[in-house]
Symmetry: C2
Subunit: 453 residues, 2 copies
């Protein structure tokens, strides 16, 4: 049970690798890197600042590069791919699954992707050209062409013999796909059913029918929710207007879609690009965020202009300047809660015509209740602080108004944006802040003007 530093049992492979990197023992790092699963190396690349990433990449053997490229996010793989020439690309893409291959081809500049396609062998090129027309975020873009198909008339004995002729059955093959002579999808035959059935039974007797195959143009997030609902491991993809089998989608790729979709709301609500990777360089990070700060600056100036209307009131009662950010801030927080619930509900496809009114009611009631509660607290504190009951009344009313407005805007704004085909996760929070700031300042300072002036 010696505790040599190399065999530390509690270290994860990634920790060990980081330590070896820090220690500068590159030969050691190379050995470790090339023995890890592709996804783990991809994690390591994604957790590394760009310069360290370059060093790591050079230590990875050519035969492992393709699979790793598929696992890292698009920002990073794009950067790596653009630094390769055709020969390297050809070496990297050899033996990849179709969808991985297509992902890579799609990320290349046109000239390079044409060169790459021309240098592939005919079979690979055919596979890629079949999938290439489909957008990356559709079922077609997700699919592989490694299907195993059988005919309804085959017996189990024949099916088993046919399977045995394969050198390897592709991963995630939980079903055989049943097609007719014209390659049209008919149904699925689960492997686990093949294994327990009488050798004389036919595919027709055992196959599951009534399953709809996925049309190639279905958006990937819809594919993901189908997989989730039906607990699929793989599913067949057909041509959109015929029923001709094109390929299949497997759960590993669907999990990636699920993770990306979930990430989308979080990142968008902070104005960060979807594919903004954690370790993007300053030159990528700064402009994206500058844009968002600029949008917020416009918001802030609109709020300032609202305050400007009440210059005289503020000049006479400076307590208003001290308290006014409280009203705006509480409205902003309440609004962002409602907005987050709406955006999550919309992402989960839970919100539709029939329940919007219920949601709006619920949000308004919650806002009214919490508005009353905190208005009372704020009124008490403000009255005690400035020894003036009127200021307590004014801030309580303003806060109540702003919280209810925040709920109203938080429900309706994302629905409106969606109807206008604008991403609510991206645009929602900036616009909502404008609303709650302006309503907060105007109601507070306006009421104060009415009370005092």
């Amino acid at each position: 049970m010696g505790q040599s530093p190399d065999s530390g049992q509690k270290q994860t492979p990634i920790d060990a690798l980081n330590n070896a990197l820090d220690a500068g023992t590159l030969a050691h790092v190379r050995r470790m890197l090339n023995s890890l699963p592709a996804a783990e190396v991809a994690d390591l690349l994604e957790s590394s600042p760009p310069d360290k990433r370059k060093v790591l990449w050079q230590l990875i053997e050519l035969e492992n590069e393709g699979e790793i490229l598929h696992e890292v996010n698009a920002d990073i793989s794009g950067e790596i791919l653009r630094s390769m020439d055709t020969e390297e690309l050809l070496a990297v893409t050899e033996g990849l699954e179709t969808d991985d291959l297509v992902d890579i081809v799609q990320q290349l500049p046109e000239q390079l992707s044409n060169e790459l396609l021309q240098s592939m062998d005919a079979q690979d090129r055919q596979r890629v050209e079949l999938v290439l027309p489909f957008a990356e975020d559709t079922a077609g873009g997700l699919m592989n062409t490694d299907t195993i198909t059988v005919r309804p008339s085959h017996t189990m004995e024949l099916v088993l013999r046919y399977l045995r002729r394969h050198e390897e059955i592709p991963r995630f093959t939980d079903t055989l796909i049943v097609v007719n002579r014209k390659d049209e999808f008919l149904g699925l035959l689960p492997l686990r059913r093949v294994l327990v059935s009488d050798p004389g039974m036919t595919v027709r007797e055992l196959m599951q029918t009534g399953i709809e195959a996925i049309p190639a143009d279905m958006p990937d997030s819809t594919v993901a929710s189908l997989f989730e609902r039906h607990d699929w491991v793989s599913a067949p993809v057909v041509e959109t207007n015929s029923n001709k089998l094109l390929g299949r989608i497997t759960i590993d790729d669907v999990v990636d879609v699920i993770i990306e979709d979930a990430d989308h709301s979080l990142m968008s609500m902070a104005g960060l690009g979807d594919d903004a990777e954690t370790f993007s360089r300053v030159i990528h990070a700064a402009p994206r965020r500058a844009l968002w700060l600029g949008a917020n600056l416009i918001t802030a100036f609109i709020a300032a202009a609202a305050i400007n209307l009440y210059q005289e009131t503020i000049q006479q009662i400076v307590a208003l300047a001290i308290l006014m950010p409280i009203v705006a801030s509480m409205g902003g927080v309440a609004g962002s809660q409602t907005l987050t619930i709406m955006i999550r509900g919309m992402a989960l496809d839970q919100i539709n015509r029939s329940n919007t009114r219920w949601l709006l009611n619920r949000e308004l009631i919650v806002a009214a209740l919490n508005g009353m509660l905190w208005a009372l607290v704020v009124a008490a504190v403000a009255t005690l602080w400035f020894g003036d009951q009127r200021i307590g009344i004014v801030i309580a009313l303003a806060m109540f108004i702003n919280l209810v407005t925040a709920a109203l805007a938080g429900v309706l704004l994302p629905l409106l944006l969606k109807a206008l085909k604008i991403d609510p996760a991206l645009a929602g929070s900036v616009i909502l802040t404008t609303v709650t700031d302006v309503v907060g300042f105007v109601s507070f300072l306006g009421l104060a003007t009415a009370f005092y002036m």
Copy 2:
């Protein structure tokens, strides 16, 4: 191609059901409900306000209830379960998979769960009692006991005969689990390898070794990242300190974990509970949010107290009151961008000792660049607006200071909170807002006091 309203081809089953519900044709709704997959009914329940949900639940047949209960989120299933008596519970839980059964038992009040356990048949009780000790968010809590095991000495012929004796092979069985006489885990035998191998070969010759089984106490999010990295469909679970096989985890349950984890950051950052369902009742939604608003109110009063220090300055130059929210707001937005990146990076396990310094540097540089850019713009606008160059200089300096502070706090705060075992997604944004508000107001008003007074 008639377009009868019932067979509208573009309607999803859920739309159709909603329409039927609105039309009040309950018999029709009942038929549809009981022919949909459990996950789809669960979606429908989750997309329904509580009262409609109750109506729907009563239309679901007893035999379908168990599976549906497992698919809805814990808030909803808890509510439904607590309204049942032992007899109903027993009927609902019959034939469920072990992990689903255990989930249900765990959600019941102790008395009811004891009654339920006592009324189960001995075999079910044994299965449940094996899994029950493990927390819901560990590998043990995720696992099922429906493993198919083989011995190293078996030949493929024997294995195939053994499989054929099963009436049904459980879903997600992509591998057989190889164990020794003492039920200790030895390796995995992929079904797809069984199918293509010579009948005379033994399990020992064909099995994959060198795979580590999952210890029962591993946290579920670690399990999820293992599945993601290795593209597993199922994986064996063993006793933590021995290697004794306990069960297996399947990808369908892992996908649920992935979705929950992804949801966590988004919901927590808005101060919404993890399991806050979209259609929770006012009585559940209001108190949770009240708490968060209360925390924010404290923040807002701290900011107000900061402004209060500069009463005299504001009284003399009212422009300061008009402009000060701009400085605070820009700091808040910049800070929340940095915080979101940190929280996502931490959730993805990307952030560690070796790259924190790089991240901090990057954030500071981005903040400094964007700080300079927008400081100049703000300075120009403020100077023109109030015809006073000094106010432009003051706001530019204050904004620069606040953006850089926001970056510093945005990186360090979540790390600090994590070290203190406080969830950064939950507490981070409130504390960060306090920092950017206070620094924003104090730097702006403080500099103004120095310049003007």
